[in-house]
Amino acid sequence: MLEISDLSARYGAIAALDHVSLRVENEKVVSLLGSNGAGKSTLLGCITNSVSCRMQGSIRLDGKEILGLSTDAIISRGLVLVPEGRQLFNDLTVEENLRMGAYGFEHGRKWRTDLERVYALFPRLVERRRQVAATLSGGEQQMVAIGRAIMARPRMLLLDEPSLGLAPRLVREIFNLVREINGQGVTVMLVEQNARQALRIADFAYVLEKGRLMGSGPAPILAKDPHVVSAYLGEE
């Protein structure tokens, strides 16, 4: 279980997170909703220590403090980030990108079984395995980004805006795949602007506004909350 308590983060004089506390239970999908600039990406950056802000508070993984550990130390504890905007190795092929996912780890030598697992999840990537990542469509790139994270054998995936720039049909497809990965026992923390899709697959959700936690609850209940409906879901 990931437990964040009283986490504050600031960039110089600007507060990005203000005493945020939340928890992500094992094998659940937890969404973090919020508009642009609410501090969602900063929160993921704090968990993986990959942002240059000053942090205070505590982030515990199964009771052990991980705030202050280096990025690679955190990732090798099984918290793997799928960064915003995919961030692939653009000049490498799909398969090379996927293999890189296991490169920094001790299990890296046994990448073949992990690769089979990724291809089983994303059959479309099999046809594209020799294609250079930069030439893929947005949806395929997102699949490679998630696949690369799977290669790291995550206990928990941290997804940062996986729907960014994708057509609605593809967003649905990606989110279904996230649910499927979750079904294999991987905990998911999902940061999204696309609240409707995020609430559809989440077990529990938090709402972040201007660095503060403004609401939380089981996803189906939050989806009916008047404030969430008017601010994030709109009329339908």
């Binding site: 690679d72 090798s76 793997v80 653009n90």
Partner: protein
Amino acid sequence: MNLTRTIVAVLILALLVALPFGLGQYGYYLMAIVMIYAMVALSLNVLIGMGGQISIGHAGFWALGAYGSALIVTKLGFPFFLGVLAGGLIAAAFGALVALPALRVQGHYLAIATLGFALFVQQVLFEWESLTGGRQGLFVPRPSLFGFELRDDFAYYYLLLAIFLLLAWITGNFARSHSGRSLMALKMSSVAAECCGIARPKHIIIAFTISAFFTGVSGALYGHLLGHLSTETFSLAISLSFLTMAVIGGLHSRAGALLGGAYLALAPELMREFKDVQMVIYGVTLILCVQFLPRGLISVVERVWTIGTTPHATR
């Protein structure tokens, strides 16, 4: 392909062995300088070519190697070889320190940080008169091997060639090591590489340490060649020249490092008549090279070679 590579390597080696014959004393000296510069170019291959880091402070490491070795040989009476090794290790220790700002800043800011380091080293060496002789400079004994002094630059050249080849071999192995590959991944995309569990701080520190070690060894060997050190040598201008030669030779090739070293050592000789216009020519060469030959002079050689050997080239 492997066979042709071997043949090319043997040909280059034969050329390097045969080259100094009949050049005369000054020619031997210049050839020795080529080797010494080429070692620095190798060090920048590691730092910039693989690591994607910038340094305009390599004169600092060069100076630490030169003074380190000179002082250890003269004041502590160590043999030449250990002095050179110690010069490299002293520079390497400072390399690890200079890597620390590189973990926080990149690009222009890192360039300024490394520049600051080089100016700091030069100033400290200048002011620390009791140790370094300050303005007077420092006398450095000639190189010697197993008790035999290498009076002649002709003999010294071959020692330098051997050391260059050793460093080039280390560079090649490093490029294929876990750390070398991690650096190349970080250079492509540091966010992506870190997501793959690659420890950025560790590998950046390793790159700076190795690069500084190579440059320190080069500086040490340079001191013993000149026989006299003064801090003026280790100026901003030489740091910039190092960067220029590495870019012009080619940052992704060990043969390119050799070409870079030859360029920096020999171009002033060829352009002596141009006097004040020299710096303009250097500048223009650099701009042309960055614009049209981003992979350096060596890419021309490689292209000619590819056309010559594969008439129906597919790539």
